[in-house]
């Protein structure tokens, strides 16, 4: 993790504030910071999204390419996550410095999406056992302001929502299989992401826990619980992170909070995405030029 240096006094201040349900930026324990989502920001991708959560900035590009399905699932498309921690975020990430964090994020996302009902990968199959769509989900971390996992999962879901896969027609002649790709930008398939999970990270600070910890709060926290939560409230992934341990009863409390917050997060994310789609081409594209 990208660390900020905090003195003991500052840590005590943050911990005491959280006990009274008041965090150093004025939020309550279950409040997210301001989040901005924009989809369709990179035109060289099949789908893309940019998420800014306070100081955390994440850009996700989804590229659909034809490839071979994995041997275990011949009738399914593939979903591949790749995280790149850009040195723009912090000089520590220069060269291979960000690889451990990148691997951790991509593992967690892979785990959260690794269940049959999250995303209908059967739709991505072109020829069973031979050709399928491979969705490369590339996550670019541009600025670290705490709570990277949640922001990354929101950005991934938004980018998948935005993804357009060109329609393919398969025809057979004389033993040859021809795949024809439509070039019409409107003749495309969309993915159904309603049941895709969002990751909610709960940080145990003092005797309470908070969602969406800022960088300062992350420095005070020894144990985190990360949950992949779907809209229905089911849990697709669970992970304890950090060098501390948790009481079984507080694990239960944290999970309750995570479920509640996760469902709300999923719901408002879908609302925002639908609203953005309705605006369609009319919306002002700002990207990084705000």
């Amino acid at each position: 993790m990208v660390d900020v240096l905090l003195s003991d006094a500052e840590k005590t201040f943050i911990i005491h504030g959280i006990q009274d349900n008041l965090r150093d930026d004025g939020r309550g324990c279950e409040d997210y910071r301001h989040m901005e989502i924009e989809t369709d920001v990179v035109s060289s991708t099949s789908g893309s999204a940019k998420v800014r959560l306070a100081n955390t900035e994440i850009l996700v590009g989804v590229k659909a390419e034809l490839g071979e399905p994995s041997s275990g699932k011949p009738d399914k498309g593939r979903l591949e996550f790749f995280v790149d921690c850009s040195a723009n975020a912090t000089p520590e990430f220069e060269g291979r410095g960000g690889e451990d964090l990148a691997l951790e994020i991509s593992n967690m996302l892979t785990r959260a999406y690794d269940c049959p009902k999250c995303l209908d990968l059967g739709k991505l199959c072109v020829i069973k056992g031979q050709q399928c769509w491979v969705l490369y989900v590339d996550i670019l971390l541009l600025e670290c302001g705490g709570n990277l996992f949640d922001a990354a999962s929101v950005a991934v879901k938004a980018a998948l929502y935005n993804t357009c896969i060109p329609t393919v027609t398969v025809s057979q002649d004389e033993g040859h299989v021809d795949i024809e790709l439509s070039d019409d930008p409107f003749d495309v398939q969309h993915l159904d992401v309603t049941s895709a999970p969002c990751i909610v990270t709960l940080s145990k600070i003092g005797h309470s826990h908070v969602v969406d910890a800022s960088q300062k709060e992350e420095a005070c926290c020894l144990a985190r619980l990360m949950m992949g939560v779907t809209e229905k409230g089911t849990v697709t992934a669970l992970k304890k992170e950090g060098s501390g341990s948790l009481d079984p009863s507080s694990v239960e409390e944290m999970m309750e909070t995570g479920k509640r917050v996760g469902q709300a997060l999923n719901k408002s994310l879908m609302e925002v995405l639908c609203l953005e789609e309705q605006k369609g081409k009319k919306k002002e594209k700002t990207g990084f030029l705000r």
Partner: protein, 271 residues
Amino acid sequence: MPTDSRRIAGPESSTNPYSFCTEKPRHDLLKNGKRQDGRKENNLRPIFLKAGVVSQARGSAYIEQNETKVICAVYGPREVVRKEDFSMKGLLTCEFKFAIFSCRERRQHQQDIEEKDYSVQLLEALEPAVCLDKFPKAQMNIYVTVLQNDGSALAAAITCASVAMADSGIEMYDLVAGCAVRVAGKNLLMDPCNQEEYKPEDETGLTNSGSVTVGLMPSLQQVSAISSKGEIEFELVKQAVAKCVDVCTQLYPVLQQALVKSVSERQNEEG
């Protein structure tokens, strides 16, 4: 890899032999209250745990749960090699590896993504249990090898590594016991074997299908590791975690016994 020119090349188009063998149907994991290997829902497999098995290591342990066999060795505390890694707390590293021959399909020599993920989880399970602030400037290395994988490998590795750590004489707050549970429908199958383990590729059509692994420090009653795979309803996750916590507490005497045995053996040797 250098290629062997004298070797007869295989046919041009080939199919993985594993796709021909039929695995037992997996949808009836529980029949008349009995699992495929005859256990009941709550039953664990018998555990064999022995500390002090690798002579040149500072501490070591071996665990066997029927066909799941894990060996672990601990080296250190020793000086940190790189100066930049200096810290007032000791440095704990973990390397988790499936032996090449341990699984149905051959594993590679290099750590793959799954093994790296397990390494991190194992490290985070053990970190809270070790008194790292007693070892400034030092590092301790844990090496875990799964000799044979028949399910619940991570849980076995957690138990094994904590016993090895204790066997090495490194100060600890508590031991860590690991336990896994498979969630299938409304059933919670403790300590799943390979056949019962959750695999995302075979759809059973159940809403609830997944697995949960928990690491617990029994005398402190603190959860040090928790991880889950697959989509599970919220209430069931809670149940699964609670059950794992229970079972881990029950495992505690087994861990203690193994340590006592190794200590008394060592005393006999010396005396």
